[in-house]
């Protein structure tokens, strides 16, 4: 459909977006028509005709008019802020129980890992009707994960884990773009998101080689990189146990409190000297340069599962 201008609407966010967009467009057309009409009518009415003396018009009661349109503009500005923000507030948090996908961006490709561990390149198969959270990491520069049909976009910033969520509503193949300029083949850093009916998705998944989940990779690394030597229970070294750590408030040696989220764990691995947990010596070695970006994410994912085990116990 080369003439169609509406992008496909294939997620719950897309429905909300299209409502707001239509309303703003209607409002804008009204204002453009109003200003256009004012200019046009005044130009016609008050144009100078050769040889005709100027008509005298009463001065406008300008203060009242000015207050009036300032108030009207202020009302619409605040109204539209309220109207659009309430929609975005609803969409911040992914619903509980969302499927977790991990996507790694690098110049110029997208590497996807399914909750089951299956891997894909420049493609992402998801079931329709289930919320999906995508954890995004970059190995080099800033990229941006953009699926127009879902109306979602999230910058993928190196050094941090970004998340974005969506719930596909319609089976189909949708374009995935990199929206943040990232170098030579920026325009080629595209892929597809395939939304499938749940049954089809299950069948598709069976045909894929079962890969290692991110957390399983992390568990392996936890031992091979030497983390377990200090952090495993029963170790001689005085290092904090990581069970139940994720999401907890941690008191630091300098008196601050931080939440042990993904960024905190990441920083603790790569910059261990920065935030020392209260009651511990700063003896953790620096792992930057020894671990790759994806490996850090795997370790963080593993540490998260330790908390989930703790919670389910």
């Amino acid at each position: 459909m080369i003439w169609s201008i509406a992008p496909e609407q294939a997620s719950t966010q897309a429905e909300a977006f299209d409502r707001i967009f239509a309303m703003m467009t209607g409002f804008s057309l009204f204002v453009v028509a109003l200003v256009g009409a004012l200019i046009f009518v005044f130009s016609l009415l008050f144009r100078a005709k050769r040889g005709t003396p100027r008509r005298s018009v009463k001065a406008l009661q300008n203060r009242q008019i000015e207050v009036f349109w300032t108030a009207v503009t202020a009302f619409f500005a605040i109204f539209f802020f309220w109207y659009t923000s309430t929609a975005s507030l609803d969409a911040i948090e992914a619903p509980a129980g969302a499927m977790e996908y991990h996507v790694e961006a690098k110049q110029w490709m997208w590497k996807t890992r399914h909750p089951s561990g299956a891997r894909e390149l420049n493609a992402m198969h998801v079931p329709v009707g289930r919320p999906v959270t995508v954890f995004l990491n970059s190995q080099d520069v800033i990229h941006s994960f953009y699926v127009p049909a879902f109306r979602i976009k999230q910058d993928v910033v190196p050094g941090r884990t970004s998340t974005v969520w969506f719930e596909a509503t319609k089976p189909g193949t949708y374009r995935l773009f990199c929206a943040e300029f990232c170098g030579t083949d920026h325009a080629k850093m595209t892929g597809r998101v395939v939304a499938m009916a749940p049954g089809d998705y299950a069948r598709w998944l069976e045909t894929r080689a079962e890969g290692e989940t991110l957390a399983a990779t992390g568990a392996r690394l936890f031992v091979s990189a030497g983390c377990a030597g200090c952090h495993e229970e029963g170790s001689d070294v005085h290092a904090p146990s990581l069970a139940g750590l994720f999401g907890r408030e941690i008191p630091l040696a300098d008196g601050r409190q931080v939440t042990a989220d993904a960024d905190y764990l990441r920083d603790s691995i790569l910059l261990p000297g920065r935030d020392i947990a209260a009651g511990y010596e700063p003896i953790m070695p620096n792992f930057s340069g020894m671990l790759e970006d994806g490996e850090v994410e795997a370790l963080v994912a593993y540490i998260r599962t330790l908390s989930e085990e703790e919670a389910s116990r």
Binding site: I2, S4, I5, A6, P7, Q13, F17, F21, M24, S28, V31, V35, G36, L38, I39, S43, F46, R47, A48, P53, R54, V57, L60, N62, I65, E66, W69, T70, T73, A77, F80, F81, T84, S85, I92, D140, V141, I142, S144, Y146, P148, R151, I152, D155, V157, P158, G159, S162, C178, A179, F181, G183, T184, H186, A187, T190, L270, R274, S288, G289
Partner: protein, 559 residues
């Protein structure tokens, strides 16, 4: 007073153009009018360079595959277009050319407060421009005009350092000009010209200068940090060294959002002058217009976060920036309504500069309204970094600012050159520019809504039709931009003498000869009332006499 004639003109002294014909008399001048002309020359040069790059970009995008130039060349082309157009055309366009030429004239002064600094600004601007051009000739820069890290600081294999230094150096030129304008407005106003009697053009230049002086250092810092990381490996933005790539965006947009107002505010001033003159009306709501200009320049500093809704900044920050961005629409809307209301009860004629000014109001309205889309978080999430954004800022910058620049250039051309141009061709160019502009950029709103990301060298086939339309429009626009070169050229060579005040405008700059003498005025004028005195209070205003195209001149004006 044998040296001045009955109207106070200095009869014997040659005008500023005749005050020396050597190259040296131009390159070492401290006359603000000549410096304005020097700026105009470099400005036109940079506009042509930036425009050529834009033409190449649109040619490449006329077909979906990336077949005309290589991806690396394409990335260098749009970066060149952005860097040159933003820093070497849009930012200095009105302030440094028309502002330099007209500010002292409009406030009844003989020159800027610091004439030598004024000349130095031009040389600094030239030096910055040459550094940027050197980066381009050596092989180009491929970061986009935004220089986002860590791409610019660690990954880009191009002449980022040189280009960043060029922009850094040019920043000092704008700071010096801004400082000069501020001091000039404070100290050089003629007798009786109180603040609330200043023409809006002067208010706009003043507000712009304040924003320039406060914001440009942030840009200098951001670019210096990029260079330090690139050259010395300082870990400011590199996450592997504990840096934060997002930090750059904060500092950069802290400059670059106010910079949008640096570019558009002078346009507001120009349009106010032109609209009042050709509708023979006082500006509607002068005080509101002044406060709107000041409000925009202050609010402009607190909305930078709306460039970063999808960067991962906190939801709270996004909401606050969203609210502030919606609020800045209020002073902008006041201006649009006041301009429209100024036409009411006027005696309107449609000279070329009036056509540009009316076009400005319409295009700025559309550009401003689409700004509301980008201010709202959920819509921005979809259209951020797509062609919607490209269309939006071209409506403000090209539809708005470039229209205002042309409105001003046509309005003051008789004052600057002393000669008239062909009104017919000028009107034709104005209409063509309006049509070509909408043809080029309206399809880009649709492309953005459809989801085409910006800075794409090739694109999927579903975007083809709108890109073809846009490229076709760009051809019209290019022709329209070349037309003024012809009729202004003809005007300089054999245009009829303009007389001192061909539009019968009321600004102080029109109270002296065209072109003005070196010292601007014989005796400095004294101001007794507010600006835009197109119809004295209680008095029936008279229609303008004479031919619209080439107004009649009295013998005393003919020299």
């Amino acid at each position: 007073m044998s040296l001045t004639d009955t109207e106070g003109h200095i009869a014997q002294e040659p005008d500023y153009l005749g005050a020396g014909h050597s190259v040296r008399s131009w390159l070492l001048t401290t006359d603000h009018k000549r410096i304005g002309i020097l700026y105009l020359v470099t400005l036109v040069f940079f506009f042509l360079v930036g425009g050529a790059a834009a033409t190449a970009v649109r040619l490449e995008l006329a077909t979906p595959p990336g077949d005309l130039v290589s991806p690396d060349t394409y990335n260098r082309l749009f970066t060149l277009h952005g860097v040159i157009m933003v820093w070497f055309f849009l930012v200095p366009a009105v302030p440094s050319t028309l502002g330099n030429f007209l500010l002292p004239l409009a406030i009844g002064a003989r020159d800027m407060a610091f004439p030598k600094l004024n000349l130095a600004s031009w040389y600094i601007n030239l030096a910055g421009g040459m550094l940027a051009l050197a980066a381009l000739l050596l092989g180009g820069v491929d970061t986009g005009w935004t220089f986002y890290t860590p791409y610019s600081s660690l990954y880009s294999n191009s002449y980022v350092t040189l280009a960043a230094l060029g922009v850094f150096v040019a920043g000092f030129s704008t700071i010096a000009t801004g400082l000069n304008f501020i001091v000039t407005v404070h100290t050089q106003r003629c007798e009786g010209l109180t603040w609330m009697r200043l023409p809006l053009f002067v208010w706009a230049l003043y507000a712009t200068s304040v924003v320039i002086v406060l914001a440009t250092p942030a840009l200098a810092i951001a670019l210096m940090m990029v260079v330090l990381e690139r050259v010395f490996g300082l870990g400011l933005f590199d996450p592997a060294q504990g840096g934060d790539p997002i930090l750059f965006q904060h500092i950069f947009w802290f400059y670059s959002h106010p910079a949008v107002y640096i570019m558009i505010l002078p346009g507001f001033g120009v349009v106010s002058e032109v609209l009042t003159c050709f509708s023979r009306r006082k500006i509607f709501g002068y005080e509101a217009m002044v406060f709107a200009i000041l409000g925009i320049s202050i609010f402009g500093f607190f909305v930078w976060g709306h460039h970063m809704f999808v960067s991962g900044q906190s939801a709270t920050a996004s909401l606050v920036f969203s609210l502030l961005s919606f609020l800045i629409a209020i002073p902008s809307a006041i201006k649009v309504f006041n301009w429209s209301a100024t036409l009411y009860g006027g005696h309107i004629t449609f000279e070329a500069s009036m056509l540009y000014a009316l076009g400005f109001v319409g295009l700025f309205t559309l550009g401003g309204l689409t700004g509301l889309f980008l201010a709202s978080v959920p819509i921005d999430v979809h259209v951020h970094d797509t062609y919607f954004v490209v269309a939006h800022f071209h409506y403000i910058m090209v539809g708005g600012m470039v229209s205002a620049f042309f409105a001003g250039l046509h309005f003051w051309w008789p004052k600057i050159s002393g000669r008239m141009y062909s009104e017919l061709w000028a009107r034709l160019a104005a209409l063509l520019m309006f049509v070509g502009f909408n043809f080029t950029f309206f399809p880009q709103f649709i492309l953005g809504y459809m989801g085409m990301p910006r800075r794409y060298h090739s694109y999927p086939p579903e975007f083809e039709m709108w890109n073809v339309l846009s490229s076709a429009g760009a051809v019209i626009l290019a022709v329209a931009y070349l037309m003024p070169f012809v009729y202004f050229g003809v005007s300089v060579l054999r245009g009829p003498r303009a007389g001192d005040n061909p539009w019968q405008a009321r600004g102080l700059e029109w109270q002296t000869a065209s072109p003005p003498p070196r010292e601007n005025f014989g005796r400095l004028p004294t101001v007794t009332g507010g600006p835009y005195d197109y119809h004295a209070q209680g008095e029936e205003p008279h229609a303008r006499e004479g031919d619209v195209t080439f107004p009649g001149r009295s013998d005393s004006e003919r020299r």
